[in-house]
């Protein structure tokens, strides 16, 4: 058995166990961390398939950013796992049906005409073959327009999400750095010369004697 095969079985076993623990772990933070572990092992599996760009992008995007934000939220919420589990048996038939349907669809697609074993690209690429370069060439030449449209849609989604949650508070006392830097002395204090509004008390002159 090749060493790569041993690695494959190790990574797949850890992936399956971690994925199972995601749905069985009692603590939501543990579940999220098991999901991170599963992502990591899937990245390792992709690396074995010589898809280094996808593997590293998975770690960078999902492990490095998405799951951190996910944990950020999960850690701050007090999630009662017992209450979430209450409807388990009622929802099981529907959930099981959806799950089976998904497994069936994936089996149909993966064993079909396009993704069958015979249609896979040859595994042994030349040593200087760069997955990243090939992917970039395709994305920025043949699929330039779909790629640009997808990125614009994502940008719109970001702006929409920000605008939906943004609310300007009236009582906000946050300072703006540029205003602070641009401030002049005369903005803060103004010296005015004016006549006294009330006459100074006559007794003030005698104050020194009393003391």
């Amino acid at each position: 058995m090749e060493f790569k095969t041993v690695l494959f079985y190790i990574f797949s076993a850890v992936t399956v166990v971690a994925a199972l623990r995601v749905i069985t772990a009692r603590n939501p933070v543990h579940a999220a961390l098991f999901l991170v572990l599963a992502f990591f092992n899937v990245a390792a599996l992709w690396m074995l398939l010589q898809a280094e760009f996808l593997a590293l992008a998975l770690v960078m995007v999902y492990v490095g950013a998405v799951m951190v934000l996910f944990l950020f939220v999960v850690m701050m919420l007090d999630i009662n796992i017992e209450r979430i589990r209450q409807g388990f048996w009622n929802n099981l038939p529907l959930g099981g049906l959806v799950g089976l349907l998904m497994v069936g669809e994936m089996a149909a697609v993966l064993s079909g005409r396009y993704f069958g074993l015979a249609n896979l690209p040859p595994q042994n690429m030349p040593a200087n073959y760069s997955n990243t370069k090939e992917l970039a060439r395709l994305l920025y030449t043949d699929y330039a327009y779909p790629f640009e449209i997808a990125s614009v849609i994502l940008l719109v989604a970001i702006i929409a999400a920000v605008m939906l949650t943004l609310r300007r508070r009236k009582d906000n006392k946050a300072m703006h750095s540029s205003d602070q830097i641009a401030v002049k002395a005369k903005d803060r204090m103004r010296l005015v010369k004016m006549a006294p509004e009330v006459d100074p008390p006559a007794a003030a002159a005698k104050e020194g004697d009393q003391a």
């Binding site: 590293l56 960078m60 944990l71 760069s130 990243t132 750095s177």
Partner: protein
């Protein structure tokens, strides 16, 4: 380097060489890992000493000078002390994650060194996607802090973890975008080739190679990358994650002894890593600044030392940023600046004025 070592090893082992031969790649890789990590950890130890000395001098103090000649054994004494201290587990902590936290902090800090080239051909793994690997591994570093902060089950560590996750993710964006211009001008993801691309150019031909390095044409990105690097390692003036005056020590509050030392090691290993990355991406790695001087690892070491001094210098100089100012700098200054500069470099490369061919 392997070609020079191999005959020597063969001669040394003599008749038992054929039995060693199948596992030789494993031995050789492990040897290289030790060759990288042992000096690294020694550098980490003496960086802490150097930091205390530098800050001492800048504040007109003497700094550590009691242990050994000129205080040179201070880091050894500190390490020994931390090693002998008890690791205390808070009663309400999540024990398994409490142990996992420091491990997750130090593992990426050391793993990232696998692709750093020290000299032509002197890298543990000279891979094509080296930059991607660095970005991926360094983005995992935040887990150590988050896990530690949550597992401690205590207020200050949790605040530290929340601040860390927000800050490190924000500055990763500007670091990544800053790197894109470097990738554009060197048209490679391989770190050795990125250094190689900086050895060519008009000024390199004139014998003043240091003007051909990426820092000059990409000066705004150099500044953004360096400052983001400081923020990414949670060093002063961006050290709100630990912020002594606000949240004591952030995620490290509940840690003691060796488990605390591992966070400490990770922070300094990350500092050295950032300085290595800056010198590879912007300062020409092992290339010599002047044409007639030979290239070599000593140049890279000198550049890294200069950047590390910058880290310590700004720690002694600047007051800590307020949290909203950190976020503002990251998102409202650095990200737009990098986006604009990507466009500028793209247009520059396509124009007849291009200096990259």
């Amino acid at each position: 380097m392997e070609a020079t070592v191999l005959p020597f090893v063969e001669g040394l082992l003599g008749s038992i060489w054929p039995t060693v031969r199948p596992v030789w790649p494993l031995i050789w890789t492990l040897l290289k890992i030790v060759l990288i990590l042992a000096p690294l950890l020694l550098t980490v130890a003496y960086l802490t000493f150097w930091e205390r000395k530098i800050i001492g001098w800048m504040q007109v103090r003497i700094g550590p000078n009691r242990v050994g000649p000129w205080g040179l054994l201070q880091p050894i004494a500190d390490g020994l002390k931390l090693f002998l201290k008890e690791v205390i587990f808070p009663t309400a902590s999540d024990k398994k994650l409490f142990v996992l936290g420091p491990i997750m902090a130090i593992a990426p800090a050391l793993a990232a060194w696998a692709v750093i080239p020290f000299s032509p051909g002197w890298a543990l793994a000279n891979v094509d996607a080296g930059v991607l690997y660095l970005l991926a591994v360094s983005s995992v570093g935040v887990y150590g802090i988050i896990i530690a902060g949550w597992a401690s089950n205590s207020k200050y560590p949790f605040f530290g973890a929340m601040r860390a996750s927000a800050q490190m993710i924000s500055y990763e964006v500007s670091m990544g975008l800053g790197l894109i211009t470097v990738l554009m001008v060197s048209s490679s993801l391989n770190l050795t080739e990125i250094v190689g691309a900086q050895s060519k150019g008009m000024f390199a031909g004139m014998g003043v190679g240091f003007l051909s390095w990426n820092w000059l044409p990409l000066l705004p990105m150099f500044a953004v990358y360096l400052i983001s690097g400081v923020a990414e390692t949670n060093r002063a003036p961006f050290d709100v994650v630990e912020g002594e005056s606000e949240i004591v020590a952030g995620h490290m509050v509940e840690y003691s002894g060796m488990s605390f030392a591992m966070f400490f090691l990770a922070e300094y290993a990350n500092m050295i890593l950032i300085s290595a990355m800056v010198s590879v991406f912007f300062l020409g790695g092992w290339l010599s600044p002047i044409g007639f001087l030979p290239d070599g690892f000593h140049w890279m070491a000198a550049k890294m030392a200069a950047i590390l001094f910058f880290f310590l210098w700004i720690r002694a100089t600047f007051p800590r940023y307020r949290y909203d100012q950190i976020m503002r700098l990251g998102w409202k200054v650095f990200v737009p600046l990098t986006l604009v500069w990507i466009l500028v470099v793209g247009v520059w490369m396509m124009s007849p004025l291009t200096i990259w061919k």
